[in-house]
């Protein structure tokens, strides 16, 4: 399975946000990090891929099928998107909230298999102990991990995570990214995550796409992308790339003088 984004232009009403965006041939099992400063178009790209925004031009293909023509439900079955907003005041337990994510595209009745999948998703993210807790009683970080579980449980072909670690402490950042990466390797979906932490992106992603002002600036392996001078220009910082003792990439950033 592969995902191809082919010359997409999209936005809100008359305001164009994405201009001629193409990301070719993302193979199943690849973890793609979408990086770029605020308002560079990362969320808009995810919404366009998820079918929440209709592109004015271009195609989005899973293998050879253009998914922009699919109905909303079928699209949601194949592409799961986790928006930045999470947490709510609903009187639902964590288990129920993950189950309802599964049931949107999975028939009306609840089967044993559905319950197993929910239990597995919660277990994979270390959320089993919160299963009976009310969703409105969770901390911001816990709610964010539940949102990740709601996305993974659907077992789609494409997983889109919009800043999945923004509310998490260091332990949980690593835990969520490890779980997502394991999911990518286990089931081989395409995973794309918008990330602000370049070191996290370097550690977990197979491929990085740098976005600025709605255009793709660079696309490639982390060591190649993070070494580009465009990184510093885009974020308006000075960066240098190093390798840690354990062989991981490390981006050292400081404010440009």
């Amino acid at each position: 399975m592969s995902l191809t984004i082919d010359h997409i232009t999209a936005g809100y009403g008359r305001k164009t946000v994405l201009r001629d965006v193409s990301i070719k041939n993302i193979q199943g099992g690849t973890f793609v990090g979408l990086i770029g400063p605020n308002a560079s178009g990362k969320s808009t790209l995810f919404k366009t891929l998820a079918g929440l925004i209709k592109p004015s031009t271009g195609r989005i293909c899973i293998d050879d099928q253009d998914i922009t023509t699919l109905g909303r439900k079928e699209r949601a079955r194949r592409v799961a998107y986790m928006p930045q907003a999470f947490g709510c005041n609903a009187l639902l337990t964590v288990f129920e909230s993950v189950l309802l994510a599964l049931k949107q595209t999975n028939g009306w009745r609840v089967y044993d298999d559905n319950l197993d999948r929910v239990a597995q998703a919660l277990h994979a993210l270390g959320l089993s102990h919160l299963s009976d807790r009310g969703i409105s009683d969770l901390s911001g970080g816990q709610a964010q991990m539940v949102a990740v579980a709601q996305t993974l449980v659907r077992e789609p072909e494409v997983i889109l995570l919009d800043e999945p670690t923004s509310a998490l402490d260091l332990h949980h950042q690593l835990s969520v990214m490890t779980s997502v990466r394991a999911e990518a390797q286990r089931r081989q979906p395409v995973v794309m995550a918008a990330l602000h932490d370049l070191n996290l992106a370097a550690k977990f992603c197979d491929r990085l796409v740098l976005l600025r002002n709605g255009e793709i600036l660079a696309d490639g392996a982390p060591e190649k992308i993070l070494a580009l001078s465009e990184i510093g220009e885009t974020y308006r910082v000075q960066t240098s790339l190093e390798f840690t003792q354990s062989g991981d990439l490390y981006v050292d950033a400081r404010l440009a003088s």
Partner: protein, 344 residues
Amino acid sequence: MRQAYSKQVLKRYTMIGVVLVLLLLSFFLDVATGPGKYPLSTVFDVFTDPLSHGVRLKVIVWDYRLPVAVTAVLVGALLAVAGAQMQTILNNPLAEPFTLGVSAAASFGASLAIVLGVSVVPAVGPLLVTVNAFAFALLTCGFILFATRLKGVGSETMILFGIAIFFTFSALLSLMQYMASEDQIARIVFWMMGSLSRASWEKISLGTILLAFAIPFSLYRTWPMTALRMGEATAESMGVDVGRLRVEMLICVSLLAATAVSFVGTVGFVGLVGPHIARLLVGEDQRFFVPLSALVGALVLSLTSLISKSITPGIIYPIGIITALIGVPVFISIILSTRREKLS
């Protein structure tokens, strides 16, 4: 985890069963209570064999008390389901059919019929007041639907329109009262207080058909509606067409609310308390929440009917007054004493 969830589901079915039993009990007590009080066994006899205790009792039970008791159950269920859905689509726990100004519009429609004898639907004969109330309630919903489609379907926009409509029709209602004779003012006020005495088998049939349509209509959309409680952005990301869902449910809610209010007048409290109690008992999984809201709403109005006949023997007080006087303090105490921990 799975076992805990299954246990929770079982608990919720049990809760629905308990409320159903209470509703049946209240219903039979409602039929047995009145100026003449009959034992429950006699009421059961007349149910199974109408002439078992003579023609007089058959007329009292079947022609007078049963329509009132059934209307209480039906209208309670209609208002509560409408309230439950409205709270979900507007993401506002204080929303109910009347938030959109449906009640005010219906009251104006009724007053138009009472004061000027004007009917918006020709040749309806004695149903003039009811039909006018229904038409105006529905017209209001249609207007809101149209307006929100123009502006983009947002919950805040809907509430703002509701408030604007409420004040507009309240002003028009005052104008009607200003123009009305003393007798007409008395009729308008009585209509607005809400009364089950306008019950009839024709209205019951219509209400039952609507409810029989609304419950499956709502149940079919339970998963998207539950997702909506997670927030608009999350629901959309799960593949829910939020705009379309809102419009569909608003049409359903409009029919239910317009029917209920045209049957009995203004009974504002049930649409709020039914869903709230249901929510506290079973949470917001709409598979349980919607049916239990209907049952609790029916139970509340059935008990109200019972109380309205029991305070002063021989006098039936308007239900709108009873629901406000007794129901609201009960409702507040429920909110204050029940915490979210009850969920699990």
